[in-house]
Symmetry: C2
Subunit: 564 residues, 2 copies
Amino acid sequence: MKILLKNGSVVNVFSEELERADVLIENGTIIGVGDYSDEPADKTVDLSGKFICPGFIDSHIHIESTMLSPIEFSRVTVPHGTTSVVADPHEIANVCGTDGLRYMLAASEGLPVSVYFVLPSCVPATSFDEAGAVLSADDLAPFYSEKRVVGLGEVMDYPGVLSKNESVISKIDSAKKHGAIINGHAPLLSGKDLDKYVSMSIRDDHECSSVEEAKERIRKGQRVMIRQGTAAKNLCDLLPLFDKPWSDRCLLVSDDKHPADLLTKGHIDDAVRIAVANGKSPIIAIKMATINAAEHFHLADIGAIAPGYIADILVLDDLDSVKVRDVYKNGKLVVENGSALEITEPKVPEELENRVRGSFNFKTLCEKDLTVDCNEKRNCNVIKILKGQILTEKLVCNIDFSRNNGIDVENDILKIAVVERHHATGHIGLGFINGAGLKSGAIASSVSHDSHNLIIIGTNERDMLVAAEHIRKIGGGLVAVDNEKVICEMPLPIAGLMSDEKADVCAKQNENIRNAAHKLGCPTDVEPFMNMSFVSLPVIPHVKLTTLGLFDVDNFSLISLFAD
Amino acid sequence: MKILLKNGSVVNVFSEELERADVLIENGTIIGVGDYSDEPADKTVDLSGKFICPGFIDSHIHIESTMLSPIEFSRVTVPHGTTSVVADPHEIANVCGTDGLRYMLAASEGLPVSVYFVLPSCVPATSFDEAGAVLSADDLAPFYSEKRVVGLGEVMDYPGVLSKNESVISKIDSAKKHGAIINGHAPLLSGKDLDKYVSMSIRDDHECSSVEEAKERIRKGQRVMIRQGTAAKNLCDLLPLFDKPWSDRCLLVSDDKHPADLLTKGHIDDAVRIAVANGKSPIIAIKMATINAAEHFHLADIGAIAPGYIADILVLDDLDSVKVRDVYKNGKLVVENGSALEITEPKVPEELENRVRGSFNFKTLCEKDLTVDCNEKRNCNVIKILKGQILTEKLVCNIDFSRNNGIDVENDILKIAVVERHHATGHIGLGFINGAGLKSGAIASSVSHDSHNLIIIGTNERDMLVAAEHIRKIGGGLVAVDNEKVICEMPLPIAGLMSDEKADVCAKQNENIRNAAHKLGCPTDVEPFMNMSFVSLPVIPHVKLTTLGLFDVDNFSLISLFAD
């Protein structure tokens, strides 16, 4: 099967030129770029006035965070020109362990977006938490033989690296042994500590928030992944990196991106667009979105329009709007005039599918489980949510347990619980939270970083119980409850993290559930479920709640609820 | 063991800056670049006023062509700042097959110059020749598991690639399967033919002789290896490639370099120096000599002064002269003040050593073997040597076989013979040559590309016989004979290609033997042995001589000696 794309202007990521050229494709591979006007082909497309560039590569994304299944993720991103991503299946691995890795591999096979993987390096995030699995270097090692596994995912445990913690070092050593790329995650690390971290061959980072931070990393040999996600948007602060020589060492990533964002703003195309709108060269931005990523991950046959490269090709109307018109994947038209064509569903072995969908395992809760055994006034450590941030602060409040088990709706001191839901250990972390603002009811979620236990915030224990049981019933998801009735739900049956629905339905459900929480009283400038999902992450300062109790991130230790 | 290099100016190949920084090394790896002035170390070196850059990498060299053993090669190149080379052991493989590969691996283990290998793709060069071995894809495959084997060597058989010859395609496919880099060699190939060639994932070329040729290759995704060897000097013609964006896709190589050249001019440092002398940026030239090469070959831990990189470090007096003062290899001082320190000799298994040194196998020759069975005047195809070129031309001369068996010294029509010397097949190619200019005696060599049979040019058969037998006696080398006496020799006992001597002795011997040939009458503007060694290479136009007879390269077929 020969396809000839005629008369387009080709973005050459090697010479940084625009070339008027025909592109000849045979059996999914580009075999000629030049004057092929007389070449016979099975299909000829005239692209006069159009631009041709390589398919975009997202170098770091957690697909689970889009709440979309891999197939739906591909359906929504390929019209934005994404033809490859490097995914870190860190979330599902925390729930399902190696089953989660196997599931993601199977569920992403043959999609119009090639899904490469890096293996999650930090499952669980810390030992002060209970995830669904513990992944050791030995657990991960067999996966390096998978063709689409290209690296070790973001090494978030930088204290572990600096202190040469055996578990994290053994994963790094194993990755090196397998020739895998090691991804970094070490926000604000600098100077000698950064030297120590980078010395372990951790060769990229996606957490840079300032140009100086990024330049230091580039000087030390890391590639910088410029992130433009839903919550974390670093691109505008990092625009100077789109200039030489820095641009040569930069890639574009989304990290975490919500479905509504993917639908309305786009994906890597959005990042390219923003750079161009800010006066940066479209060719350089496209390089960062294509060949720079491919070469970083040693993906030898993607990222360029050149002979021998896989025909992952975008047709753009122009280089300013970066509007993707058509997409060819392996030489096959998969997006025509902006719309994704039919996608063949990957086959996931049934027992694997069942295991991933049957991830809930916790004992039926009763009110007592959510009640602190205390009947007096005590000074307590309280988690304070900060608007627009995943950081929290520690308050000390005097709580009167003789009234409403300590809940004080008027002063926005609500109950929060993190219920272990993987192995029915019965562990429940209880605490109080300020900033969620609910005036009645409860909200709950099976998305709670990184262990994805059940997290619940409520104005009373009964609504919290109803929320918890409903999440179990729907196999995971987000729920809002009022007066012991479910008022809104967003089912996430795949490992309690991903939906079966289409992206637009997902986006709508997500909007609805957010609105429901706001209706219950959560301030409109707080993202209730997003904020809640990070309250359980014990690696982000300052105070968090895990199944084992309150956790002081600054001192890296569990602390008592009571502050007196 | 901690070493601290203080106060130097570090060439940063990522940011393209000069940084005033200390470099901290531990156990052979760079662990810090920055202000480490207070750091305790086992050894501290003050490099105030000096420049620090990564060790140079030659991305394509045939060590055999230096005529030096691997250890001596390292001894002579490391003071020039070479800390790594990618060697194609194509010459020894043509003599000794996989034994040759094993020998080179063993003989280069642990040298101060890291020797990486690409596997020779074209042994023999064509089927119209008799090499010591035939290497198939299956023969090569096991070597990809060797840590230092990084690719498939220059795919010279571009007609084979274009016609999808099964043997060459299977080697390419095997290389791809093993994730190996595939080196190109396709001089002047352009347009659609180049597209076809590059489509096979052949991702570099070192044969570019013009900027336009090089730019076309870069546009098509190849990296261009800018060559500055002894015979082929392309650098000055390619100086514009030292500018952006081209420089990002270029590497520096020597390909074939003679010992005298290495001693007096240098190696990759010479190429950097020439670029700088021509006004190019030393930092960009150093990038091309270091990180560009490392990243092309996926050598993740060399090519930069940054944390986690192996401490292959050069100390330069300045960036204009590019004079190498000290060299650290794996953090160990191996060159001090321009002189190489002691090198530990690699251990080569004795039976391997014996096989490589016992490579001669041909029947004793007699005069009749070197005589054309003819006694009349005939028009004959004659090889004409061209000064300063490895191309030859075809002459047709009327030769009177009744006088001196056809040899006509006065008109510079000399006898040439190529004697099969690997498997005692008894095959001898006989012909006549113009341009060698000997007035008496004979010269002979066991270096004759690519099969390295015994090649002899003479004014009479007796001297040719003496030369042939003497080469056998010394186990290979270059010989000049006059009046049946050896007047000069340069022994090359390692596979008939490499010397046991030090580089300076080698260079002197080489000069002596060249002078001896000139004394016998060879014009001083002809390189007698170099020119002779390419007369047997049936892939360089226009007419050549192999053990099977005269070969017309343009028509790619054997032709008769007789032209009438």
